[in-house]
Amino acid sequence: MNRLNRDQMAARVAWDIPEGAYVNLGIGLPTKVANYLPQEREIFLQSENGLLGMGPAPAPGEEDWELINAGKQAVTLLTGGCYFHHADSFAMMRAGHIDICVLGAFQVSVTGDLANWHTGEPGAIPAVGGAMDLAIGAKQTFVMMELLTKQGESKLVEACTYPLTGLGCVSRVYTDLAVFDVGAEGASVIEMVDGLTIEELRKLTGVPLAFAA
């Protein structure tokens, strides 16, 4: 089957982001989505550290280390973008002003619970950053992840075993094998890669899956 690579996954997520959306891309994999946003759509990227209208990385040598994103990488500001303080930035998230937040995940449950901040391993130093705010605040929270761990276990689960980031907050999960809607009704498959069947997908995930018509 045609498993998507990470760039293809990013392009797939980007396809679903409409013109005019206010979007926060989490650190790591979701950051790639910015590279695939259709040029003809005006989309507003927000960064939690106080930036709206985030542009692409500057040319090498032109970095301004007072203009960075949440991942602490140098970025640029689009014409029409602006700066604000941390309380206003998280107000944008917490009150649902952000339309779409795209996050990575360790696990997502079929009801939309998210685990993406802490492995819960003994001795691990916990660090949460803005993950919990992002998870629950946006109008829609998308997760982007490989469906299976390296050990072949499904990261789409009936109930998360890792410590939670937020309850029932995820609405859609983009993976390398399929796209799912999740929520109070459980998980349903929106689309699958070529060559994959719903039966195979059920076997891989081990969770109840509806199939969206």
Partner: protein, 227 residues
């Protein structure tokens, strides 16, 4: 291309519905979106809940909304003014509900809505008539009252300049409730003296980022004066 410009005040308020909650910016003469209010009156909807610092005065703006019988309830801090006779009459006639809120709690509750908080404990009003029946709690030796956020379906505000993404700057004390109401309403409509090209507003000086503004309509000061 995203362009939040709307051609007229009438078009800007065209989806305000019967029973809507509407925040209206302004404090005294400063920052009152008079032309948007006129358009709202012309639209003819009623049963409105209005959130404003005052309850209108004279014959225009919020006073005219009340005079026309469009306001079911008003949430404000200072309804009694020398020329607030339309509110006075409606209130004494039992035709309008008043929720009186200390001005700082009004601001804090609007800000809490814009920030997605569920409730706040505020010291203001503790032990007074305006906290009667409300939950209270002593925190760090100080008494507080539990107050809930004030959300609204629409905010009508006045700013000085906007761009097509809805970034706003204000002028002097006309700023007042504008920035926090813009954050608290589902749909924020700003009337501005000028709409400038993207990038004309210094990104360090934007007061209300465009994310909080859904529509901007230019009402030239000259037009405003003639209206």
């Amino acid at each position: 291309m995203i362009d939040k410009k709307v051609a007229s005040a009438g078009a800007a308020v065209a989806d305000i519905f019967d029973g809507a909650s509407v925040m209206i910016g302004g404090f005294g003469t400063a920052g009152m979106p008079d032309e948007l209010i006129d358009a709202l009156i012309a639209r003819g909807v009623g049963d409105l809940t209005i959130i404003n610092n005052n309850a209108g005065n004279g014959e225009s703006g919020v006073a005219a909304l009340i005079r026309e019988g469009r306001v079911r309830k008003i949430v404000c801090s200072f309804p009694r003014q020398p020329d607030s006779h339309h509110f006075d009459a409606a209130y004494r006639g039992g035709k309008i509900e008043l929720e009186l809120v200390p001005q700082g709690n009004l601001a804090a509750r609007i800000q809490a809505a814009g920030a997605g908080l569920g409730a706040i404990f505020t010291p203001t009003g503790y032990g007074t008539l305006l906290a009667e029946g409300k939950e209270t709690r002593e925190i760090d030796g100080k008494h507080h009252v539990l107050e809930y956020p004030i959300h609204a379906d629409f905010a009508l505000i006045k700013a000085q300049r906007a761009d097509r993404w809805g970034n706003l700057v204000y002028r002097k004390t006309a700023r007042n409730f504008g920035p926090i109401m813009a954050m608290a309403a589902k749909t924020t409509i700003a009337q501005v003296a000028d709409i400038v090209p993207l990038g004309s507003i210094d990104p360090e000086a934007v007061v209300t980022p465009g994310i909080f503004v859904q529509r901007v309509v230019k009402i030239a000061p000259a037009l405003a004066a003639a209206a």
